[in-house]
């Protein structure tokens, strides 16, 4: 039967033909990711990478919460207790960090991830629509400056400890990584050099950014971070002027909310939010809520506020009323972080008044407003009586209460050179180790003293 042979041969030939046509099937590409060459070819895409940098900044390990949380844990000094089961934050709270602490490694990684994204944007500005170039450049510089500021505060000795030209902070990377050959093995730069980078990026950003820019970086935000940097550097003129400029930009854009409580747990920015990490039910995380909130509200209930802290408030202080007793355990918890889908406050306008007040008071000046006017604005909003002639201590105390559990604490304590939990302000225990993983990957890095 001849046709039988045909079946056999046909199947063989059909098979071969099938295979022949299959070589094209070897060039497959993903449906959910873009090839690098397409991602970098239009101005629109470069702007999307800028948005990606914000997204990276909002990571849980960074401004999704942990960068703020660790400041509170490290600076606890008896005001809070960490009773959670996660070992990494517990090490931060106990000041017993190990070099393999994964939260520390992730902080390092996410910061440089943001930096690389901003470097890519800055390197491709010419593709961006000319009218948008300034803003895009300003936002990228702002994010990069913010990332370096966060790194230098955690991984280097405080600026207030002096020796800033010899104390090591972190490597400075200003070139993007496009391909394997771009990878470098950099050394750590000095505290001075990193602060210089922070100042330069933020100053330029302040010039380039608009005063109002939706939920993204704006002039006030750049000035606010600059004022924080100057405070760290104990440069009170710088801090005062930056805060003053920030408040000037804020005119008509940002304002204090009338009721203190309303500054928190907002799913859209309040009028007081100069910058916040955007969290929605679809996207983003709020790790401050995760660690601070009661299990009743979907948190872990890991951080308990101690009476030592609560006793700092005057009677009638609305900021005291914001604390709540955990319906589950009865422990005191802060009411600032209750809604898991609320934005994470990064810069509230109130901080700028307090910074200007403190710097003015230290310098004996009244740039923008008198220290009393600025402080009393904050006090009266909290339902307290105004005070006359506030001292620097009064203003600092007000600052700690106003900004309590918002991630500023340990950095303020270090610049004020206060002891923390029995450690001197510049003790190695209060500084993060360079991640062991990073030292293994880059031999040029030296570990912080005290860590092995």
């Amino acid at each position: 039967m001849k046709y039988i042979k045909y079946i056999g041969f046909t199947s063989l030939i059909a098979g071969s033909l099938l295979v022949g046509s299959c070589t094209d099937e070897l060039d497959l590409s993903p449906t959910d990711k873009l090839p690098a060459e397409s991602a970098l070819n239009t101005g629109e895409n470069i702007e999307r990478i800028l948005l990606g940098a914000y997204d990276a900044l909002s990571d849980g390990d960074l401004f999704g919460g942990n960068a703020l949380r660790d400041s509170e844990l490290l600076g606890s000094d008896g005001d809070l207790q960490f009773s959670g089961t996660y070992g990494e934050p517990a090490e931060v709270w106990r000041k017993e960090l190990v070099t393999s602490n994964s939260d520390v490694a992730e902080r390092w990684y996410s910061s440089y991830y943001v930096i690389n994204a901003t470097n890519i944007v800055l390197d491709n500005l010419e593709l961006v629509d000319e009218e948008e170039q300034g803003r895009v450049q300003g936002e990228a510089l702002f994010l990069r400056g913010l990332a370096y500021f966060e790194l230098v505060k955690y991984f280097g000795k405080p600026y207030s400890a002096g020796n800033t030209t010899t104390n090591l902070a972190v490597p400075i990377i200003t070139e993007p990584t496009y391909e394997f050959g771009d990878i470098t093995y950099p050394e750590r730069q000095t505290v001075e050099a990193v602060y210089a980078r922070v100042l330069e990026d933020l100053q330029q950003a302040e010039d380039l950014l608009p005063t109002s820019n939706g939920v993204y970086a704006n002039k006030t935000a750049a000035a606010a971070i600059l004022s924080r940097a100057y405070l760290q550097m104990l440069n009170y003129e710088g801090a005062r002027d930056a805060a003053n400029r920030g408040l000037a930009y804020a005119q008509g854009v940002f304002s204090l909310v009338p009721v203190y409580e309303n500054a928190f747990n907002n799913t859209t920015n309040s009028s007081e939010d100069v910058l916040s990490t955007q969290v929605t039910t679809q996207d983003g995380v709020n790790n401050m809520q995760l660690f601070f909130a009661s299990t009743r509200f979907g948190g872990r209930g890991d951080i308990e506020i101690q009476n030592q802290h609560l006793s700092e408030y005057e009677e009638g202080d609305e900021r005291l009323a914001l604390f709540y007793s955990d319906p589950v355990t009865g422990e005191s918890r802060t009411g600032k972080w209750v809604d898991q889908y609320a934005n994470v406050n990064l810069i509230r306008l109130a901080e700028l008044y307090l910074t200007r007040a403190e710097a003015n008071a230290r310098l004996g000046t009244e740039v923008g407003a008198s220290p009393a006017d600025d402080v009393n604005l904050i006090r009266e909003r909290a339902g307290l009586d105004p005070i006359d002639n506030p001292t620097v201590d009064d203003i600092v105390r007000e600052r700690f209460l106003e900004l309590a559990f918002e991630g500023q604490r340990v950095h303020d304590m270090k610049r004020l050179q206060w002891d923390i939990d029995g450690f001197e302000y510049d003790a190695f225990e209060l500084i993060f180790p360079i991640p062991q993983r990073e030292i293994d990957a880059n031999e040029s890095l030296r570990q912080n003293e005290g860590y092995f």
Binding site: I4, K5, I7, G8, F9, L12, A14, G15, L18, V19, C22, L26, D27, L28, S29, P30, T31, D32, L34, P35, A36, N45, I49, G52, D55, A56, Q81, S83, E88, R94, E96, V98, S100, N101, S102, Y112, Y113, A117, P176, Y178, E179, F180, I183, T184, P186, Q278, T280, T281, D283, G284, T295, F297, G298, P327, V328, T329, P435, R437, E438, A441
Partner: protein
């Protein structure tokens, strides 16, 4: 030659359908002892003559014999030869016993079959009959201990979940180490498809009672024909085929119970109060509280009436812990009426298991079929854990023409897995052990206590999850293949084949407003649909020809294309109006929706030639060219050759008269295989989509590597196959070296680049080892058969190099100790070495393992502990290699005995030389660090100066020795009575009256006894949420294996 003759005679017979019936004398029927069906094609010869015959399709024969002294020799592939003296009988019915002498077995190899005797490669075969009725969900569990060099390790005791299987060790660091699975010629989807950290196992969709045999290709010559996916070995699964003849029908039902292999003891209420109170008190004493009443001789002693002491109310830790006890006790009073809950027992359920299997097989000489249907329902031992499978299969072979065959196999199954959370979730049942024994399960109204809504505990309990959630994974699986085989000339077979594996899966999860996952969202639900279409098409030809008396040649070659597409959608929603409405349609708010498609393809050309000279010199060569979408444009094609040779010494004249040696073959092979089991697009430079504040963006995702290529394994295997005393003792001995180079390694780059790793071909590692298989027939009488077998394998794994002079991959994270270090096996435990407790102050100590100057040894920071320098500062202790998570030595021992109607089989299985790290120790064996209940050994804590113990002083919320260290590292060796089967078959004479073939009643016990030094639940463990190529040998609230006992009956007719 004998076999070839037999085959051609059989073939001829089948084709002509005419028996060689001579005048008449003796006739009878040959049946298999296995299933009492007639055996067609049995060779019958009259001893000392050349005359003989073969049985027909029903096993009947007729033969003319010269005299009453004539001896009939019955022989058939896979059965023990039988000799019968004719005497004056005219009807001689013969029962043949399946052979343990595997030399004459047909073994399935890549794209063909070979007689075991002529193999030049190393292939382990597990017959389907060996794994029938084993009460486990998936086939890999069933073969544990049955094949040399095949290491099977379940991650935990959850049913339907991931299983770690390694053939001759792990050969990769970042690509998969799982073998390639080929079912009836089609490579199938076998990798984890879980959306959670706990992996699932697509092989559990297979009803392994349909399996005829599993061949595990281990060395390069056997596996290299599978090219770029063969480095981890290839498992070829062949399903049953119909036999021509009367339909045989089998019904099997079994029912049984499962219990954990082991329970662990935790503190009872009074012990818990004692330890936690002491932990709080110790803090107070350290803080200077109660100074006037502390007994310096025994500072841990809490004086009576301490609550009246003025320090008590002054924010003392003691008062704090008493408050905690009040909270934990719910409505109870811990002082007078503690709940004393045994939470460990509450994690387990009364587990039942049942299975029903039906199968029919039969056909004519033109058309044969095998059909089966099965239902299996197995409870896991953990509360809420269950696995159900319904499956059906139809395998059809049809002869269109004498030289044209059509084959079709279709298997369909549906599995339903009621899952529990991964080991790292509070909601997983075994994390219940963290709850305090003071906490009652329910309040007086019968409501469950929890950590939030009706609180009496700090940790969310699985009891609430069980009653308020659903986590079900359902899979619809369709395996199908069809082929057309054409034989244009004698010896040449051309096969066109197409097959696919279609896997459709839904992971459906719902947690209502009472659960941890749903309480802040008013109920949360998610659904993930997944469809994987994995198809293969190929055309190949096979040519077998005896070239005269001296040469035999067997050629195989073909082309193949495979493509797999995975298409998935995920939706999550929250805010459900009622706990009654549990599907996503009722969610007021959809919070997540995703969908994507990913794919890969392989294009391959393969060729194999086997040559046999004088029935004793064997030579095999094979080669495969593979191209894959997974690799960079510069290195897309790879070539994988292998060569092997065998020498059957027993055919040589100088050994033919050695009576003791019935078979002896020396074989050697060398070849190259590859590993392509990485992600689909790892060679491309990519940007990923991201969202911020509701706006879409891009983030850098991956650096391009156009040179990315296969991981390459060169394997040398040298072995002996032997049979002694008429093959009553037979076996194999192999030595192998597998050198893997160009490792697909996630090469760490400095984070400062903005990237973590780049996938690259760097580094090398080696596995080398020895395997021994021994099988023996101890007794072989008509009524009594006793056999025994042993398989053992020693494998040494060593990482030879990483990136340049890089010595370690430096795994980050402080919970685990596994690392990759040059000169050590993959995943070696590397960390601080625990040195016990300072007898003076109760501090935990670690050996410094570093030079310390004599003047620095101050007795506080550095002190002499048993002749070595120790420290209480964890950071000052250098990390050292502490042990291997993977056993170096694995073995299985089995024996089976049949006596009249009774049958007994026993399988022991064991591993040696590995360690287990209990990651949960940092909470459960932590001398009262948190409120977590503690293992009972923590009562041996240090209390006063001079105490010699390994358990440091209890200090509440203070980490005194609970860091990851060798404190939580234990010997993981074990020996297990894996399987014990006892059966009784009713006499056939009795059954024949009712038209029945066989009726067998049996009992099977799985994991009946375990012998181990490991103090945890079970030494077969690797916590599901962390398991990886590197994270090995870790326990973390992982469920133990199930000890299952089933009773069943099998009826055939």
């Amino acid at each position: 030659m004998r076999k070839a003759l037999l085959c051609s005679v059989l073939l001829l017979h089948l084709i002509t359908g005419i028996g060689w019936a001579q005048s008449r004398n003796v006739s009878g029927k040959v049946i298999s002892n296995e299933d009492n069906t007639g055996l067609p094609g049995v060779n019958i010869r009259i001893q000392g003559t050349t005359s003989g015959t073969v049985t027909d399709l029903d096993g009947n024969y007729t033969i003319e014999v010269p005299s009453a002294e004539s001896v009939l020799q019955f022989s058939f592939v896979g059965f023990v030869d039988e000799e019968v003296t004719v005497g004056n009988r005219s009807v001689i019915n013969v029962e043949l016993y399946p052979s343990l002498d595997q030399l004459s077995e047909l073994v399935v190899v890549g794209y063909g079959t070979q007689v075991k005797e002529e193999l030049t490669g190393n292939i382990a075969r597990v017959g389907g009959d060996q794994i029938q009725n084993v009460p486990v969900p998936s086939v890999e569990q069933a073969i544990q201990g049955r094949a040399a060099g095949v290491f099977v390790n379940s991650l935990n005791g959850k049913v339907g979940q991931g299983i770690n299987i390694r053939i001759r060790g792990a050969s990769s660091i970042n690509a998969s180490n799982d073998p390639l699975y080929v079912i009836d010629g089609i490579p199938v989807t076998s990798e984890n498809q879980s959306n959670t950290a706990a992996p699932t196992n697509p092989l559990a969709d297979l009803n392994f009672n349909d399996i005829e045999s599993m061949e595990i290709l281990k060395d390069a010559s056997a596996a290299a024909i599978y090219g770029s996916r063969a480095s981890n070995g290839v498992v070829i699964i062949t399903t049953k085929k119909g036999k021509a003849g009367a339909t045989s029908f089998n019904i099997n039902y079994q029912y049984g119970v499962s219990r954990p292999t082991n329970h662990r003891e935790f503190l009872n209420a009074s012990q818990y109060i004692e330890l936690l109170q002491e932990a709080a008190w110790n803090n107070d004493v350290a803080d200077g509280y109660f100074a006037d009443v502390v007994d310096p001789e025994n500072p841990a002693l809490i004086p009576a009436g301490i609550e009246d002491h003025p320090d008590y109310a002054a924010d003392s830790w003691l008062q704090y812990i008493h408050g905690t006890f009040d909270f934990l006790s719910g409505d109870r009073d811990w002082r007078t009426n503690p709940a004393n809950t045994n939470w460990e027992e509450l994690a387990f359920q009364d587990a039942r298991t049942q299975e029903l299997n039906l199968s029919a097989s039969g056909g004519t000489d033109k058309t044969r079929y095998y059909a089966s249907g099965s239902f299996s329902d197995q409870d896991g031992i953990l509360i809420g854990n269950n696995f159900k499978r319904i499956s059906g299969r139809l395998n059809l072979n049809h002869e269109l023409k004498s030289n044209l065959d059509f084959n079709a196999n279709v298997g369909i199954s549906r599995t339903l897995n009621a899952r529990v959370s991964d080991d790292n979730e509070f909601a997983t049942p075994l994390q219940l052990v963290a709850q305090s024994p003071l906490s009652p399960v329910r309040d007086p109204e019968g409501n469950l206590y929890d950590d939030a809504l009706n609180p009496s505990m700090f940790y969310y309990p699985a009891t609430v999850e069980l009653e308020n959630s659903r986590f079900e994974t359902s899979v619809w699986r369709n395996l199908a293949n069809t082929s057309l085989v054409y034989e244009p000339v004698d010896g040449l077979r051309i096969t066109g084949e197409y097959g696919f594996d279609l896997l459709t899966q839904n992971e459906d999860r719902y947690q209502n407003a009472n659960t941890q996952g749903g309480r802040s969202t008013a109920g949360w639900g998610s659904s993930r649909w997944l469809r994987i279409f994995n198809y293969t098409t190929r055309a190949y030809a096979n040519y077998v020809k005896p070239l005269g008396e001296v040469h035999d040649i067997d050629l195989t070659g073909g082309v193949e294309f495979q493509k797999s597409q995975i298409d998935q959608t995920y939706v999550a929603g929250q805010n459900f109006p009622s706990t009654e409405l549990t599907r996503l349609v009722s969610a007021a708010e959809i919070t997540d929706a995703e969908g994507d498609l990913s794919e890969y393809s392989f294009l391959s050309y393969f060729l194999r030639a086997n040559y046999k000279l004088l029935d004793r010199y064997l030579l095999g060569v094979s080669g495969r060219v593979d191209a894959s979408s997974r690799f960079g444009a510069n290195n897309r094609y790879g070539f994988f050759p292998a060569v092997s040779a065998g020498w059957i010494l027993s055919e040589e004249s100088f050994l033919q008269n050695t009576r003791a040696i019935s078979f002896l073959k020396l074989r050697a092979s060398y070849g190259i295989t590859g590993n392509a089991a990485i992600g689909n697009f790892t060679h491309l430079g990519l940007y990923d989509a991201s969202v911020y504040g509701g706006q879409p963006g891009f983030v850098p995702y991956q650096l391009e590597n156009p040179d990315l290529s296969w991981e390459r394994t060169a394997q040398l295997d040298v072995g002996f196959d032997f049979g002694f005393f008429k093959n009553r003792i037979n076996g194999e001995l192999d030595y192998y070296v597998k050198n893997t180079t160009d490792l697909l390694l996630e090469r760490p780059v400095p984070y400062t680049s903005g990237y973590r790793t780049i996938m690259d071909n760097i580094g090398s590692l080696r596995n080398r080892g020895v395997e021994l298989v021994l099988n023996g027939t101890i007794l072989s009488k008509t009524d009594l058969q006793w056999t025994a077998g042993l398989n053992m394998a020693y494998n040494q794994n060593e990482v030879l190099s990483l990136n340049g002079d890089q010595q370690t991959l430096a795994q980050s994270g402080s919970r685990w100790l596994n690392d990759v270090i040059v000169g050590e096996p993959i995943g070696v435990f590397y960390g601080q070495e625990y040195a016990g407790v300072n007898p003076d102050n109760g501090d935990a100590l670690w050996y410094v393992n570093d030079e310390v100057a004599a003047e620095d040894i101050d007795g506080v920071t550095y002190l002499n502990q048993g002749g070595r320098i120790a420290t209480n500062n964890y950071n000052l202790a250098q990390r050292v290699v502490l042990g291997n998570p993977t056993p170096e030595f694995i073995y299985g021992v089995n024996t089976s005995l049949t006596f009249k109607g009774f049958d007994l089989s026993v399988l022991f299985q064991g591993v040696e030389g590995n360690k287990i790290f209990n990651g949960g120790g940092t909470y459960m064996t932590a001398n009262g660090r948190y409120e977590d209940n503690q293992t009972v050994d923590q009562m041996n804590r240090w209390q006063k100066p001079g105490d010699i113990t390994d358990v440091p002083q209890a200090r509440l919320y203070s980490n005194n020795g609970a860091q990851a260290s060798s404190r939580y590292l234990y010997d993981g060796s074990y020996l297990r009575l894996k399987n014990l089967t006892l059966g009784y078959s009713l006499p056939k004479s009795l059954l024949g009256n009712y038209g029945l073939g066989t009726l067998r009643f049996y009992a099977v016990a799985q994991n009946l006894l375990t012998f181990t030094q490991y103090p945890g639940w079970d030494p077969e463990v690797n916590t599901d949420y962390a398991a990886s190529n590197i994270s090995l040998g870790n326990d973390f609230y992982s469920a133990p294996q199930a000890r299952t006992i089933v009773f069943g009956a099998k009826l055939s007719f």
